[in-house]
């Protein structure tokens, strides 16, 4: 047996304690006036809190909402897929039907030892789950759940969304390479090919929404669907976007990088404990971000009959999209890499282009309907 590498964990703990303290101090310094204003509103006019940006950032539709929904989505997925496969799913933990199972899993992962492989690139190995989590969580800033419930109504919201998601292949590549494992690296390269192949159909499928709304801002896109939802003008693009979404999230049927039976367990093989937990958590947060995006550009965001508030309609639509994405896992087999590449480049892109050309040629009629 060779001797061990130097103990990275102790130096990492020291540096990260300092980093966390500095970051939290910086955040508090930046937010301080808003926090004071929020506390004042708490005592004078509680219902106005819902309009402050700090509330939107932290609670809804920001961090706490996303975390809770990620945990619920984990439970729903396991129950749903279990019922589809004629078994029970989690039922032991928690009072009814295993509701506390995701929390139990979280505690289990936190208390598992983090093993850093020999000769791995330790800095990148430790930091890539954090990077994956951030890249998955950042896009929720621009997604609108109603005309007022959006953290940042950015003029180029759609482009910012794609710019943030363009970081993900980089993260996958870094995570796969830093494990110092030939199998994980090859699995990571295949994940990279999958991500790169399906980003182009995603870009092209979101183009009709920009064309029809005339703006890049997600709230403007959702507001422009007051008369007709964009999915009726661009059904092919919606289908392509849905397929591309499943591929970017690495969900079944595009599961090849994760559960590849010939390459052990894909590019996250060497990650144990909370490192792997952060990857999975980031995947569910990304699922929520993508579903919100899909609802905003194709299904009309918050538009719905005025009987119920717009917030209800947007949450209903996001829930339906998330449920469909979760349940697909029980129905389909896995796609091979060559089928995947052929489908992504050879079939999805021409369908997108067909839809764009149709919308471009039918411009006078569409303008008269929408305006």
């Amino acid at each position: 047996m060779q001797e061990l590498d130097k103990d990275y964990a102790s130096s990492f703990v020291k540096y990260s304690i300092v980093a966390v303290i500095i970051l939290l101090a910086l955040v508090l310094y930046l937010i301080y006036p808003y926090l004071l204003a929020l506390l004042q509103l708490l005592f004078s006019n509680p219902s106005a809190i819902l309009n402050t940006t700090l509330f939107k950032l932290l609670i809804f539709p920001g961090l706490i909402y996303v975390s809770i929904v990620a945990l619920i989505a984990e439970w729903v997925e396991r129950k749903l897929v279990a019922r589809i496969q004629v078994r029970v799913g989690p039922f032991y933990v928690g009072g009814w039907e295993g509701l506390l199972q995701p929390i139990a899993d979280l505690f289990k992962l936190i208390t598992k030892e983090i093993i850093i492989p020999k000769h791995a690139d330790k800095n990148i190995f430790i930091l890539s789950p954090v990077l994956a989590f951030i890249v998955g969580a950042l896009p929720i800033i621009v997604i609108p759940y109603s005309p007022t419930y959006v953290i940042w109504d950015y003029q180029f919201g759609l482009l910012l969304y794609f710019a943030i998601l363009a970081f993900y292949p980089l993260v996958v590549l870094l995570a796969a390479w830093s494990s110092n494992n030939k199998y994980s690296f090859i699995g990571g390269l295949r994940a990279l090919y999958q991500q790169a192949s399906y980003e182009v159909p995603l870009f092209l499928a979101a183009l009709p929404a920009v064309m029809l709304a005339g703006s890049f801002s997600l709230t403007a896109i959702a507001s422009a669907q007051a008369k007709v939802w964009f999915i009726l003008f661009a059904p092919l693009s919606a289908i392509v976007f849905f397929a591309g979404m499943m591929a970017e999230l690495e969900r079944i049927p595009f599961d090849m990088p994760e559960a590849d039976s010939e390459l052990v367990s894909g590019w996250t093989t060497e990650y144990s404990g909370i490192a792997w937990g952060l990857f999975q958590f980031g995947a569910y947060v990304k699922l929520l971000a993508y579903s919100g995006f899909f609802v905003t550009i194709f299904l009309g965001g918050w538009q719905g009959p005025a009987i119920l508030p717009p917030l209800f309609w947007s949450l209903l639509k996001v829930s339906i999209v998330v449920l469909i994405l979760l349940s697909v896992r029980g129905f389909f087999p896995r796609i091979r890499i060559d089928q995947l590449v052929r489908a992504g480049w050879g079939r999805l892109i021409p369908i997108c282009i067909l839809n764009i050309v149709i919308i471009a040629l039918l411009q006078p009629y569409i303008v008269s309907i929408l305006r």
């Binding site: 047996m1 030892e113 954090v130 090859i186 005339g214 890049f216 411009q363």
Partner: protein, 121 residues
């Protein structure tokens, strides 16, 4: 643009909270998790042998051409988004060049797929 009261400010705050949150996860884990290092635990996981020879290069370089193609399409979609944003102010006959550009994007894909199939990837 200075990080004043608007959007980029909250973006930066969100980013900082995200990084702090991720590192906090790790800190809690390093406190609660046991640490018993041994040489055998830190060996990389290999449940078989990779066959010797050139197979590994092939596995790695299989779809490299599609990465190059992705780069080209990324740049082209920049132009297409600029064209698409001006949708409400053009007539179909004026945007014939953009439509031809779109249709001309298809042959490279099919050539690449055909070459990939003939080589056997």
């Amino acid at each position: 643009m200075y990080l004043g009261d608007g959007g980029p400010f909250w973006f930066a705050v969100f980013l900082l909270i995200g990084i702090a949150g991720g590192l906090l996860f790790y800190l809690v884990a390093f406190i609660l998790a046991p640490r018993a290092r041994s040489a055998i635990k830190e060996e990389t996981f290999e449940s078989g042998q990779i066959p010797p020879g050139g197979k590994r290069v092939r596995l790695v370089m299989q779809y490299f051409a599609f990465l190059l193609l992705f780069l080209i399409f990324d740049v082209v979609s920049m132009f297409l988004y600029a064209w698409g944003a001006s949708y409400y102010s053009f007539a179909p006959s004026q945007s014939i060049y953009a439509i031809v550009l779109l249709i001309l994007l298809l042959p490279p894909i099919y050539i690449t797929l055909k070459v990939a199939k003939s080589v056997g990837v």
